[in-house]
């Protein structure tokens, strides 16, 4: 028996597919274009961050005592480090929007490597994270934040923050996929509040009731915030939080690896299953 397909003036199946690099670039480009062309996202996000920072700096700041260090120098590193969580909310909402709009279904039906969609988005979201950080840091300097340690230490802090951004990206991508709709994923993202507020980001953990301190002291956000704080503010900050920078850097790296090792495979598995 001979089997012959009817002649068709279309591409042969063999070369009709994009490689990993092209796919990742195209998908990242789409996410970035969407961000850049949605001024409300950029403006609202920026204003919100600025407003919170101003409120903490000038409204609550006077009532919070941080022995040995100015409150502005205490809180700005906290804002910078927790900023990655608030910005990551955008990833969850964006992923859920794409799912709901059927964009992910279209991408999944295309002959591209399956990993390209998540990797492309993670790259683009990291770029968006860096943008958000630059804004927060600029506002921080404007309201009186200053570095009190070496430049290499500050750069180390910056690199850590980008790493934290990547870590939380996977958690939030997963949340976006589980939630399935932008509204629901915003609900999921409420998880951010206990993580950021019950941490050393805005107030010293010592000021919390004893039963909260156990959580606040050991959860990853505190460790990450303190790493950034001690790297940028040096000895006074180390004295206040009770450990040297290296203690927090090592622990924040361990947390980062652990969180990525858990959530990246979960996100990939969720994406594959659809």
């Amino acid at each position: 028996m001979t089997t012959a397909a009817i002649a068709q003036p279309v591409n042969q199946a063999s070369d009709n597919a994009a490689g990993l690099l092209t796919s990742v670039t195209q998908i990242a480009r789409r996410v970035l274009l969407k961000f850049i062309r949605s001024p409300q996202l950029v403006v609202v996000g920026t204003l919100q961050g600025a407003m919170f920072l101003l409120i903490f700096r000038y409204v609550f700041g006077g009532a919070i005592t941080t022995p040995g260090i100015d409150y502005v120098n205490f809180v700005v590193p906290g804002f910078i480090a927790t900023g990655v969580l608030f910005n990551a909310m955008y990833s969850a909402v964006g992923m859920a929007e794409d799912l709901e709009a059927g964009l992910i279904a279209r991408l999944r039906s295309l002959p591209i490597p399956r990993s390209a969609v998540l990797v492309g988005r993670a790259l683009a979201d990291t770029g968006i994270q860096v943008w958000g950080l630059v804004i927060t840091i600029a506002i921080g300097f404007a309201v009186g934040f200053r570095l009190h340690d070496t430049l290499p230490a500050a750069l180390e802090a910056a690199a850590l923050i980008v790493l934290f951004g990547i870590v939380f990206e996977w958690l939030f991508l997963l949340m976006g996929m589980i939630a399935g709709s932008p509204q629901a994923s915003q609900g999921f993202a409420l998880l951010i509040f206990p993580l950021t507020f019950v941490s050393s980001a805005y107030v010293p953990v010592a000021s919390m009731p004893a039963w909260l301190q156990g959580f606040a002291e050991n959860q990853p956000v505190t460790v990450m915030v303190n790493a950034v704080r001690t790297l940028t503010e040096g000895a006074p900050a180390e004295a206040l939080v009770g450990h040297p920078a290296s203690y927090f850097v090592v622990r924040s790296l361990i947390w980062s690896l652990a969180l990525i090792a858990i959530f990246a495979p979960l996100a990939v598995a969720k994406y594959r299953r659809g």
Partner: protein, 319 residues
């Protein structure tokens, strides 16, 4: 012996979601070189079938092949041949029409130059050249659907899957989309479209498969299916329910199947394979009986009626 590989071949395909059997042993063959319509009511399993073909879902049982490639064993090959335009337009509102189409072209592995050229050609074909450089946010629903179709076309698929391509469009946008779909087969793309409207299948498809509860219940050329239903439907609404039987008997004389009596609606429906002229002749005897007739309608059959005739059951409202 020379045999033509079917574009789509489904044998006993089943897919359940929890307790719901979305597809329940679907058998289906689609020959190349034509538009095939999958017709069915809400919840019949149309989207599920299309998603299986697009490799977005995996079947629980059965065999499914696209141009000879097994969807389960070689999904990558299937993805290279198939393009999907879903029930909702899957385009990025923040990008322009051109950017959307070029992105998909690049994802099909086309070089930057080819992508640009093919996108321009596709945009011309779907009538969006003028709007091509505006962001999709400002497009109408019809333009978005056409763009969605364009994005699916730019990879030059062998098989294009269209899931309810015109649902929610106004008649003019629908006609524009129909024109584009009709022109595809000439360019060598086979089209499988799903629809809830017999009318749409009739306009576009040369072969129609009716599915219900995840199974194929009938198939054939639109003309054959309509002949099963009757070419025209006469519907007579009477004032008194007690007159229904007599009206049914009268209509029965010109119908090739038993008229359907709808007691709550106080109406009788009959399919006719005859000239509309004969309807008036057939109704004339009712003149002298004193039966009060509120309304007489002569029209094309609806999907509901096709179902009624083909399955013997009124179409359930699943949604």
């Amino acid at each position: 012996m020379l045999e033509i590989t079917p574009t789509v071949e489904a044998m006993g395909v089943s897919k359940r979601f929890g307790a719901t059997k979305a597809l329940d042993g679907l058998d289906f063959t689609m020959r190349p070189g034509q538009v095939t319509a999958v017709l069915g009511p809400n919840g019949a399993g149309k989207t599920t079938f299309v998603n299986l073909l697009a490799t977005l879902l995996r079947a629980d049982a059965g065999t499914l092949r696209v141009c000879g490639a097994d969807v389960r064993r070689d999904p990558a090959a299937v993805r290279r041949m198939v393009a999907l335009a879903g029930q909702f337009a899957a385009v990025e509102p923040a990008m322009t029409g051109r950017e959307n189409v070029e992105m998909v072209a690049r994802l099909f592995g086309q070089s930057r130059r080819d992508a640009r050229r093919n996108a321009a050609e596709v945009l011309e074909h779907i009538g969006l050249t003028e709007a091509a450089d505006r962001t999709v946010r400002g497009y109408s629903g019809g333009m978005r659907r056409r763009l969605d179709l364009g994005a699916s076309l730019v990879g030059r698929p062998r098989l294009l899957l269209l899931d309810e391509p015109t649902t929610g469009l106004d008649p003019r946008s629908r006609n524009e989309l129909w024109d584009v779909i009709r022109s595809l087969v000439h360019r060598g793309t086979d089209v499988l479209l799903t629809t809830q409207y017999l009318d749409e299948a009739d306009h576009l498809a040369s072969h129609v498969v009716i599915i219900d509860h995840g199974r194929a219940v009938a198939s054939g050329a639109p003309r054959e299916l309509k002949r099963l239903v009757g070419r025209t439907v006469v519907e007579v609404h009477v004032r008194e329910a007690s007159d229904l039987e007599r009206v049914a008997a009268t209509l029965g004389a010109i119908s090739d199947s038993d008229p359907y009596i709808d007691v709550p609606a106080r109406s009788v429906r009959a399919g006719l394979d005859a000239d509309t002229n004969r309807v008036f002749a057939a109704l004339r005897p009712l003149d002298d009986t004193g039966i009060v007739i509120d309304e007489v309608a002569v029209r094309a059959p609806t999907l509901d009626e096709a179902f009624l005739t083909l399955t013997g059951n009124p179409q359930e409202d699943v949604a």
